[in-house]
C-alpha cells in the first residue's frame, strides 16, 4: 500500500469521434513539409525513382513507428497520463524513460518556437496576395522588360528581394524593427493558444474537423487549375520522370527515409500525446493507418502535382527547386513568382497561402498540447495556468528566433538539431516498445479493439528491422550533415565560408558569358581560391578579382558573430533539455507516480501475453 496521499484524478478528456482523431493526427502531420519539402526532395533525388525508396520507407519505418507510438500513447492514457514523461514513466520506471519523456517534450516545444514564424509568413503572404501587394510589385518589376526570360528573372528577383526583406534575412533584428511581422506572429500566437485553451475535443478536434477538409478542398481546386494548364505534362515530366541511376546513390535512400520520417511526424511525442486521449478499446491500428494515408494523400497527390510541375512550366528548371533557400525558396520565392504567370494567379496565391496557414496551425496545435498536458498532469495546474506558462516560454523562444533571422540562421540550426533529436527519440521509442514492453506483448496490446490485426511479422519488424533502419538513418544523416553544422559553429570556418562565398559570387559573374556548367564553375573556383576549408591567399588572386576584396573582407567579419548564434542555439537546446529532464524527474517522483499507482491499483496495467 502506498504511503502517498490519493491524487484527485482530473476529469479525463477523450476524443469525440474516430474521424475527429484521424483528422487531428493527420493535421499534425500535414504541414509545409508535405507541400514544399516533398516535391523538392523528389525532384532532386531521381524524380519518379525517388518513390521506390519512399514507399519502402513508408512501410518499414513510418507505419511501424506510428503503430508503436499510438499503442504506447493509448496505454499511457489508460494509466492516467497524457504527457510524454508521464506515459514513459508509467510504462518503464527507469531513468532513461525520463530522458526519453523530456526529449518528447523538448522537440515539439522547440520546433514551435520557429514554426510559429513560418506560420506567420504564410498568413502574411496570404494577406499580401489579398491586398494585391504582389500584383503591384510585379507590375513595377516588369515595366520596360520585353523578353520572356527577362520577365521571369525580374519576377523571381522581386520575390527573392521581398522574401529577404519581409522575412528578415538581411540582418539580425530586422523582423523586430519592421513591426508588421510582429503583429502577424502575434495573431498566429493568439489563434494557436485560443484553440489549445479550448481543450482537446472543443478546441483541437473541432478546429481540425473543419480545417482539414477545407485545406484539402482548397488544394484540390488549385490542383484542378494546375492540371488544366496547357503543356503541364512538361512540368509533370520534370517532377515524375525517373532517373533510375539515382537508386544506386545511398543519399537518395537516406533522403527518402528522412522525408517519410519527418513528414509523418512520428516517434517524438506528438502522437503519444494525442493517442493518450483515446479510450481503452479504441482502434489504434486503423486510426493510425488512416491518419498516415491522409498525410500521404496531401504529400504525394497534392504536394507532388502542384508546386514543382507549375514552377518548371513557368519559371524553368533553375527556379523550380527553390535555389539557395531550398524548401523556403520553393515556398516563399518560387510560388509567389508562379502566381504572376498563372491565370487568376493572385486569387490562387491567396488560397494557397491560406491553406498553408491552416496546415501550419493544425501542426502547431499538436506541438503545444504535449507541454500543456505535462503541466497539467505533472504539476496539477489548471488549463489556464498551463497555457499561460507555455505561452510565456514559447514567446521568449520565438522572439529569439525572430531576432536571429539573418540568413535563416536560427531556424536552420534549430531545425537541424531538432531533426537529430527526433530520430534519436524515435529510436528510443521503438527500442522501448520492442525490448522493454516486449514486441509480442506490445503487438497484443496494439491489436486490442482493432478492426483488423497487424501482420504477423510485425514483432520481428519492430524488434530488429525498424530500429536498425532508424540507427542507419541517424548515423548516416549525422555523418553527412553534422560536419557542416559543427563547422558552422567555429568562427574561423564560418568566416572562411562567408569570404569564399563573396569571392565565388564574383567568379560566377566573371565567367557568366562563358556558359560554364556548375561543375566547371566549381573547378575554376577551386583553382582560383584553393581547396575548401583552407585560407584564401589574397596575394595569389587574379587582378580582376581584387575589386571584390573589400566585400569579401566585410563578409569575413560577419563570421564570428554568426558562429556565436549557431553555438547559442546548440547550447540553448542542451540547457533546455537538461531543464526539462529535471522537471520531468520532479513530476515523475511526485504527482505522476501517484496517479500511475492509483491506475495500477484499478488494474489498468498491461496484460500478459495470452491473458
Amino acid at each position: 500500500m502506498s504511503t502517498w496521499p490519493e491524487v484527485e484524478s482530473p476529469q479525463r478528456e477523450n476524443w469525440g469521434s474516430k474521424i475527429g482523431v484521424v483528422l487531428a493526427v493527420a493535421g499534425s502531420a500535414v504541414g509545409l513539409g508535405n507541400f514544399l519539402r516533398f516535391p523538392g526532395q523528389a525532384v532532386n533525388n531521381g524524380g519518379g525513382a525517388f518513390m521506390i525508396p519512399y514507399v519502402i520507407s513508408f512501410f518499414v519505418v513510418g507505419i511501424p513507428i506510428a503503430w508503436c507510438e499510438w499503442t504506447i500513447g493509448r496505454l499511457g492514457g489508460r494509466l492516467g497520463q497524457n504527457s510524454a514523461p508521464g506515459i514513459m514513466y508509467a510504462i518503464w520506471q527507469r531513468s532513461p524513460s525520463k530522458v526519453l519523456g523530456a526529449l518528447a517534450l523538448l522537440i515539439p516545444v522547440t520546433i514551435y518556437m520557429y514554426y510559429i514564424l513560418l506560420e506567420a509568413w504564410c498568413l502574411d503572404y496570404c494577406i499580401y496576395f489579398v491586398q494585391g501587394g504582389f500584383a503591384d510589385l510585379f507590375a513595377k518589376a516588369i515595366s520596360g522588360v520585353d523578353s520572356d526570360t527577362a520577365v521571369v528573372t525580374a519576377v523571381v528577383s522581386e520575390t527573392t528581394a521581398h522574401f529577404k526583406e519581409n522575412c528578415g534575412l538581411n540582418s539580425h533584428g530586422a523582423l523586430l524593427r519592421g513591426g508588421r511581422m510582429v503583429w502577424i506572429v502575434l495573431i498566429g500566437f493568439v489563434v494557436n493558444f485560443f484553440i489549445i485553451y479550448q481543450g482537446v475535443t472543443r478546441g483541437i478536434e473541432r478546429f481540425c474537423k473543419w480545417a482539414m477538409p477545407l485545406l484539402i478542398l482548397c488544394a484540390l481546386i488549385i490542383l484542378v487549375r494546375v492540371l488544366t494548364l496547357p503543356d503541364i505534362s512538361t512540368g509533370l515530366g520534370f517532377m515524375w520522370n525517373p532517373d533510375w541511376a539515382s537508386l544506386k546513390n545511398p543519399q537518395v535512400w537516406l533522403a527518402a527515409a528522412g522525408q517519410i520520417f519527418f513528414s509523418l511526424s512520428v516517434g517524438f511525442g506528438l502522437i503519444l500525446c494525442y493517442s493518450s486521449y483515446l479510450r481503452e478499446n479504441d482502434d489504434v491500428v486503423l486510426t493510425s493507418l488512416s491518419a498516415s494515408s491522409t498525410n500521404e494523400f496531401c504529400e504525394v497527390i497534392l504536394g507532388g502535382l502542384i508546386v514543382v510541375p507549375t514552377a518548371f512550366l513557368f519559371l524553368g528548371a533553375a527556379h523550380a527547386t527553390g535555389g539557395a533557400y531550398g524548401t523556403f525558396g520553393i515556398g516563399f520565392v518560387t510560388v509567389p513568382a508562379i502566381m504572376h504567370f498563372m491565370p487568376l494567379g493572385h486569387f490562387f496565391g491567396a488560397m494557397w497561402f491560406g491553406l498553408l496557414f491552416l496546415a501550419a496551425v493544425t501542426s502547431s496545435l499538436s506541438m503545444l498540447q504535449p507541454a500543456v498536458a505535462f503541466l497539467e498532469d505533472g504539476f496539477g495546474l489548471k488549463r489556464r495556468a498551463s497555457v499561460t506558462i507555455l505561452g510565456v516560454i514559447t514567446a521568449v523562444g520565438a522572439t529569439l528566433t525572430m531576432y536571429f533571422s539573418k540568413d535563416l540562421l536560427a531556424i536552420d540550426y534549430t531545425d537541424f538539431w531538432c531533426n537529430v533529436l527526433m530520430i534519436l527519440a524515435a529510436t528510443g521509442l521503438v527500442i522501448m516498445f520492442g525490448w522493454v514492453i516486449g514486441a509480442e506483448r506490445g503487438v497484443q496490446e496494439m491489436n486490442r479493439g482493432a478492426d483488423f490485426r497487424v501482420p504477423r511479422f510485425m514483432p520481428v519488424m519492430i524488434r530488429y528491422v525498424t530500429p536498425t533502419f532508424l540507427l542507419v538513418i541517424l548515423v548516416a544523416w549525422t555523418a553527412t550533415q553534422a560536419g557542416d553544422y559543427l563547422g558552422g559553429m567555429s568562427p574561423a570556418k564560418r568566416s572562411l565560408k562567408y569570404e569564399r562565398a563573396a569571392y565565388a559570387g564574383a567568379i560566377g559573374k566573371h565567367f557568366e558569358e562563358a556558359g560554364l556548367s556548375e561543375e566547371e564553375l566549381e573547378t575554376r573556383t577551386t583553382e582560383i581560391l584553393g581547396p575548401q576549408d583552407s585560407p584564401i591567399n589574397a596575394a595569389s588572386l587574379p587582378e580582376w578579382l581584387l575589386a571584390s576584396q573589400e566585400e569579401a573582407q566585410e563578409a569575413r567579419a560577419a563570421g564570428p558573430a554568426d558562429a556565436n548564434v549557431a553555438r547559442f542555439v546548440f547550447i540553448g537546446i542542451v540547457v533546455f533539455l537538461i531543464f526539462l529532464t529535471a522537471l520531468s524527474d520532479i513530476a515523475c517522483r511526485n504527482r505522476i507516480r501517484r496517479t500511475v499507482e492509483q491506475a495500477q491499483r484499478r488494474g489498468a496495467g498491461l496484460e500478459e501475453v495470452g491473458a
Binding site: 474516430k18 474521424i19 484521424v22 524524380g47 519518379g48 525513382a49 518513390m51 514507399v55 505534362s233 512538361t234 509533370l236 515530366g237 520534370f238 515524375w240 520522370n241 525517373p242 486503423l286 486510426t287 493507418l289 488512416s290 494515408s293 491522409t294 500521404e296 494523400f297 504525394v300 497527390i301 507532388g304 518548371f312 478492426d451 483488423f452 558569358e513 556558359g515
Partner: protein, 73 residues
C-alpha cells in the same frame, strides 16, 4: 557566335515531356495512396455506432425482477 551556339544547343535539347515510365510511376503512386486512403475511410465509416452495441444487452431478460417471472405477483 557564342550566343548563337548556345541558342542552337538549347533548341536541340530534348523537351522534358512526361514519359511513359514517368506517367506509370505517377499513376501507381497516386493509385496506391488512393487505395490505402479509400480502404481506411471505408473501414472507419462502415463501423457501427457505439449506441448500437449498447442496445443489445438492455433487451436481455435477466429475470431478476418480480415482474419478469411468468405468473409472478
Amino acid at each position: 557566335m557564342k550566343a548563337l551556339a548556345l541558342l542552337l544547343a538549347e533548341a536541340q535539347a530534348p523537351e522534358v515531356r512526361l514519359t511513359t515510365q514517368g506517367a506509370l510511376i505517377m499513376a501507381i503512386c497516386i493509385g496506391l495512396v488512393l487505395a490505402l486512403g479509400g480502404f481506411c475511410m471505408y473501414r472507419i465509416l462502415r463501423e457501427k455506432r457505439p449506441a448500437e452495441h449498447h442496445h443489445v444487452p438492455l433487451e436481455i431478460n435477466t429475470r431478476d425482477t418480480n415482474d419478469s417471472w411468468p405468473g409472478a405477483s
